[in-house]
Every structure is written in C-alpha cells, then in structure tokens.
Amino acid sequence: MDNIAIKLLFTLLGLFIVLNWGLIQAGIMNKIVARVGKRIGMPVYQPYFNLIKLYSKRTSITHGVMFYLGPLFRLSGGVGMFLFMPLIFGSEYWSNFSFAGDVVLILYFQFFGMLGMALGAGEGGHPYSAIGVSRGLSQWTTIELPLTLAIISIAIQYHSLSFTDIVAAQQGGITHWTMWTNPLATAAGMLAFLGTMGHSPFDLVKAPNEIPIGPPTEYHSTFLGVLRTNAAILHVVESVLFMNLFFGGATSWFELILKTFLIYFWSVFVGVVFPRFRIEQSVSWFLKVPLILGILAIIFI
C-alpha cells in the first residue's frame, strides 16, 4: 500500500523539520540567556556548527559495546517518542504513527532513553558518571509520579489514552484546553516538565560545578553528536507532548512552533533565575507540591 510509504516519507520529513527547529530553538534560547546576562551571545546557527564539528572529530577511545550503545539507546528513545507523537491535529500525514494507546507507549519511550544512557555512561568508568546516573534515575522516578498522575487524570477526563482523541476534545477555542478544564493536572504536569527538561533548579544530573558534567563525561565526538541530535529532537517532542496534553495541540506548523517555543521557554525562564537543588531536596520537592497537585487532580476530576 503506497499510503504507508507516503506516511513514512512524511514522518521522516517531520523528523527533519523537528530536528532543525530543535537546533534553531536551542540557538534562540542561548541568545535569550545571553541577553539576560547582558551579553550578545553566540549566533543562532551555532548549534549547527557544534553538531558538524562533533561528528567530524576523531575518536580513539573504547569502553566496550555498551558505551557505544548508550547514545544510540538515547537517540532511539527520542526518535521513538517522535514516531508515535501526532504533530498536527487534523492532518493524516503529520500525525506520524499515532494509535489508540500511544500515550502509554510514549511514557515508556521517555524512560527508555534515560535507562539506555545510564547503562552506557556507567561503562565509561568515570566516578562522576556513576554519581550522575544515580542522581538522574532517582530524580526521574520522582518526576514520573506527578507526570503520570496528571496524565491519568487527563485520561479519565477524556476517556481516552490516545493523543488524537485528547487533542480533538480540546478543539474549539482556548477555553476548551485542558489548561482551563483541568488546571490541577496542568499545574502538576508543567512542574514535572521543569524536571524533564533538565534546567536549573533540576539540572543536578549535569551539575557543572559539582559533577562535571555527569553521565556524558566520557562521551565525545560522534557520541556527543548523537546525544546533541537527540537533545534537539527530544526538546521539541517533549514540548509537543505537553502541548498536546494541556494546550490544545496544534493545527498548523506555525502554531506548533509558537507553542513549543513558549513551553520550552518556560523551563529556560525558570532555569536562568534559580540555582540548583541538592538531590534530596529535589526529590522531596517533587514529592511535595507536584505530587499533591497530581493526587488532587485525580480526586477532583
């Protein structure tokens, strides 16, 4: 059936657009952060240079097979999330391979890359990698709690575990968004979103002054290039996930770009003006406010 071939083609095209948007978005965010620090900052296209340079660096290190596979697992986590994420509502070609239960699958993919990275980074043998991995996994476990509660609340609200249905239910004006119909779940979800993006105050996995720079300490050249590619894709896809869940999805590419930018900006905005938590403070923070919000969201739905 040629339909599937065209769909695959559009999916790859979407991946390409998302990657580029991710890179440009990173450049814009760098620029904004620099402006807050009264600087001009690096050019918007700097992430492209970095990426080409990283792929072109030579490597001479071996740390075993798992070390190679770590970035690949991470990349497949990001791309996997993308594959099952409907991008544009109402368009058959831009909804990728979304299906009835894609919410559950995407939650799984979110954690998958993390685990693969943990296995690979542990192989590097650097003590800071190990500390970063243990910090990251314990923090992620607590992030998952409010996030999952928020998603369950939404699933109960809309009687569906499909993104397409959830987005469809939010159509018809700004007041139909989950943001207004289920504010508790939105609050819990957006607080969890801060944790997933890894900016301050939740950047303890890469904490530059404590454990520089955590799990990717040993990763370099092509490996780091793969990680950077994944980061660009993941940042957009994560934003799309939260856009679909809480902010009414997107009906055009322009809307998608605007909304993902604003959602990502929320985490950068918080990150610029806050220092970093210690790990036990971060864990207890997620177990307090966001978790309570998540539980309330389930109760009051």
């Binding site: 620090g37 800071y128 404590e210 003006v273 938590f277």
Partner: protein, 397 residues
Amino acid sequence: MKKNSKLIWTPDRSKFPEQNSDGSLDVDLASQKYVKVWQGPNHPGVTGNMSLELTICGDEIVQAKTHVGYLHRGFEKLIERRKFIQGFTTCIRMCVAEPDTNEYNFSRCVEELSGIEVPEMANWLRALALEMARLQMLLRIVPGQGNTTGLGLGVQWGVYLRDLILDRFEELTGGRVYHMYITPGGVRGLLPDGFKQRMEDALKKIDEFIVDITKLMYNNAVFKKRTVGVGYLDPAWIDKFGVVGPNARAAGFKRDVRKDYPYLIYDKLDYEPFTATDSDIYTRSLVRREDLRTTVELIRQIMAKMPKTGNIRAQTPNVLHWKIPKGETYVRCESSRGEYGYYMVTDGSEFPRRVNLRGPSYVHAVSLLEKLLVGANIADVSSMMVSLGTCPPEIER
C-alpha cells in the same frame, strides 16, 4: 540577625573513622562502599588550580585532603635573588586576584626596615588603590557564591562591573590586572582628571548591582535552601585554626585589620565592619556582600576626604644600590579574604634575606577545609570552598 539553632546543621563527624597521623584512612576501598574521587585541578567547581582528594560514602565525604602546589613558582626563593625594586615586581604576582595588597605589604616592609616615612597624600592614594582592589575582588566572589550552586547570572553582571573598576585602575596606573602602583617610597602618580566623576559613575552601578544581587541571590528560596545551615564553622574553631577576616566576622568575631591595627589613613575613615553570628555559607556570603557595601562607602569617603594634591613620593636611596640594614618586621593589611601579612628579614645587603607571605587561604583552604568537608555532601564542596574565600596562589606562592 537572629540565630536560629534549628537551621544549623552540623554533620555527625564521629560516625566515620578519623584519619591516622600519616594521612591514611582505615577504610576498605575494595569493598565498593567507599569511593575515592578527585576534584580538580581540572574541575570547574574548584577555585583556581588546586585539587581535593575525597573519599566518599554515598553522597557523604569521609575524608578530604587538599592538594596544593600546582601554582608553586618559588617566589620566596626568587625574591631572595632579586634586588628590592626587582623583588617588588615579582612579589605582586603572588596573588593574581588582588595584587595591590602584595604591593602595599612589600613596600611597607621595605619602608619600615629602611626607615622611610611616606607622605600623607601617598597614603590616601594607597588606601584608594587597596579599596579598589578589594572592590574588584568582591565583585567576583560575591556572585561567585551563586555560581557554585548553578546561578551563573550574577557572575555575568558582577564581572562586567569588575571590568569597570579595572578600567579605573587602567586610568590610574596603566595596568589592568597588575598595577605596580604602590611602590616602595610612595605611589606612582596622582589621580587623573575627572577620575572621581567616572569612579562615582561606576560606584552608582555597583549600588544598583547590590540591590539586584540581593533580589536574585540572597532572597532566592533555592539559594537559601542550599546554603543556610550548611558548612557551619564553629566559633570555637576560629582561634584553633587561625581563621581571619570575613569568615571570622561571620562567626561573631570582629576581626578586621583596618580597625584593629589602623594602617595608612583608615583611622580617619568612619565605618563599622559587619558581623554576624550564624557562621554558615549563607552568612559568610552575606558578610561579603556587606563588605562590598562598606568598600563602596569607603571609596566615596576617601575620594571626598583626600587632599587635592601633595607630595606623593618620599626620598628614597638609589634603587639600584638600595641596601637595607639588618632587621626583620611583619606587616599586615586587610585583604578581601582577611589578614594578609608579609614577614621580611634583611641582612644588610642589596637583597632581602627572606620574605614570607601569610595568606588567609593558607589555613582556610588546607587545614580548615579538610576538617569542614568531613561529613558534608559532595554537592556542597565548591560552595564551601568559595565561601571560605579560597585563593590557591597564596597558599603555595
């Protein structure tokens, strides 16, 4: 400030074994329970070029050893084979961050040993240079405390203002980092035209910065969470370890060389050093911010009270044949980190016999830090180092 004893968190240092007198520790590293981690010298969280050898158990530090010597240039040996005027250009490089205290101490030692009285105007200008040096150092380390916890924004603002002060230094002395302004026998020049106005402009920006950094850092809930009650320095340790300067002031001891042993013209200035009692990282940082305020105030006072013009150099012997009779002396001044002293011995020749530097970091960063880190969390290591005002070059010279 009220003392809230509930907030103070002192680690239970007794649950880990004490290190033996040869520095070894009775733990089994092969058991995988304890891990040895090196922080530095290539580590962004370590101030300057030094390293820490940490034995950790989980997130807690069991034993910490400071390793210094990465910046050792043998200054004290080099000065022994340089004439007094040559040694002067060498000694200022002992501490990169605040070279003027070195200039003053060395010049004062030489003047005292050869019996030279410095004219009044030179004393005012010396005090101005010392306060400006303190100001530029504090503009680095006050927001630097935020940087250790991941708040890099304050540093961006602070270093910009530091550049403004360095510009004033450039006008006054011609140098950006190394000034060589306070020479033995006086200072090198009077203030340039319009200096006071331009200095006042910079000081106004620093006043705004103090308000901004208070909002950004000191009132920040997460920053408070990270620093209040952490790194508690017992007041009983102040004399036991020889803690000086802001660290002692944060523990309730009013130790300020400018007040205690007035030098230059500091007895003509009106100010009061800020003291607090909580003695944790937050309080030490607060004391530094108040120091910044005081320094700005002092510079204003100096510029207002100083005479318009006057003689700035005393009569000195020919610098190429400057022989100083046998003698010894100790001169101290207040740097941004505390008491900064020079011990100089001369033997009647053209060369000094011995010059020894007493830097505050010598105790803060070696014996005190090693003790403070035991039982602390590995995430707080760099906060603690910065809050103690570590500056490695003055440890190893």
